[in-house]
Symmetry: C2
């Protein structure tokens, strides 16, 4: 079965575990530490020259990087990815929004505030206000959309929701207060109520 | 015909113009200034709450944001997007790489060094070395891939190449020296030799 090279606490890796679970795709997990540097070693760089997890490695040796590309690959032809051209484009719009305008602030704030050693955080302290400003801007864009729609694309639960759920549901770890975003909070509950949903901590 | 809300000097907008041109898709251009603030005004935010160009607006009022989502939408069913599952995933892997690990350094360095007012650049001067380090890391990943492959996905020219060409071909504007990346330079020439290629400056 495919091996997911991953870090359990990473929201990007959680996305892949959650989608695989809901799709009934069996994967094995290979765990890396946040600080062990193994993703920068030659053995890992041979699989992903960009030195990042998640990375999905198939039995024949092919490797696929980038969490949202993995979500797309796993969900093609399933109920988690619309089959029509327009909602597919919407799915991608929201996944690129997530990686460009959301993750670099909401996930990065979470990493530094919740996981990094205190002395390392102090070197980044001057960046926290910008992470919060830009992360809140992203949450505001989500709130505006979710005020008028239950889901991000195609009128139903899809990998666009999984992609955005990964770090949004853990945003408090990075110092974000979701009370200001009631439509986002209601959507988080709808996602968590989907059949086969598992929390970030779940591993199998 | 669809209207591309755009800035002519933006590599993200150039990607869309180039793909549309090569696909024979007619679009009209609506130009915004780098510093006129119009993409943050209510009229534009009603079209894209994230306040960014490119944005493709269709005759019926639907709007699609995110350059690489627009590329995907325009190229579904054409020679610029493989039809098989694996190379499609490769296309997305490289487009997400571009938006997460490449554009935030190579495009951002170009904006500040080549277009921003000098006094504004001075406030960002302390970030230039990090932009260059991370941008060169991205160019190194591209160089490693292009040493073994002519194209980024599926063994042929695709929207993955267009996505990465957008800012790579203009990297010198941001202070990057491509002499260290001969495979990248050779690939830039292959992209520029494709039928229907137009330079960033081209508008129609």
């Amino acid at each position: 079965m495919p091996v997911l090279h991953q870090m359990q606490v990473s929201g990007n890796c959680y996305k892949v575990r959650l989608a695989a679970r809901q799709l009934g795709v069996e994967i094995a997990l290979k765990e890396y530490g946040l600080f062990d540097g193994l993703t920068r070693k030659p053995e890992f760089l041979a699989k992903n020259p960009n030195g990042r997890v998640p990375l999905l490695e198939f039995e024949d040796g092919r490797c696929l990087a980038e969490s949202d590309a993995i979500l797309w690959y796993l969900s093609e032809g399933t109920a988690l990815l619309p089959s029509e051209r327009w909602p597919r484009a919407e799915v991608l719009q929201w996944m690129f929004f997530e990686q460009y305008s959301h993750e670099p602030y909401i996930a990065v704030a979470r990493f530094w505030l919740a996981f990094a050693p205190k002395e390392e955080l102090e070197k980044k302290r001057h960046l926290v206000s910008e992470w919060h400003a830009r992360g809140n801007a992203a949450l505001g864009v989500m709130q505006a959309h979710l005020t008028r729609h239950d889901w991000f694309a195609g009128g139903r639960y899809s990998i666009a929701d999984i992609a955005l759920y990964g770090y949004t549901h853990a945003a408090a770890d990075g110092g974000f207060d979701l009370d200001a975003y009631p439509a986002v909070r209601a959507w988080l509950q709808r996602v968590a109520a989907q059949p086969g949903h598992v929390p970030l901590e779940f591993a199998w």
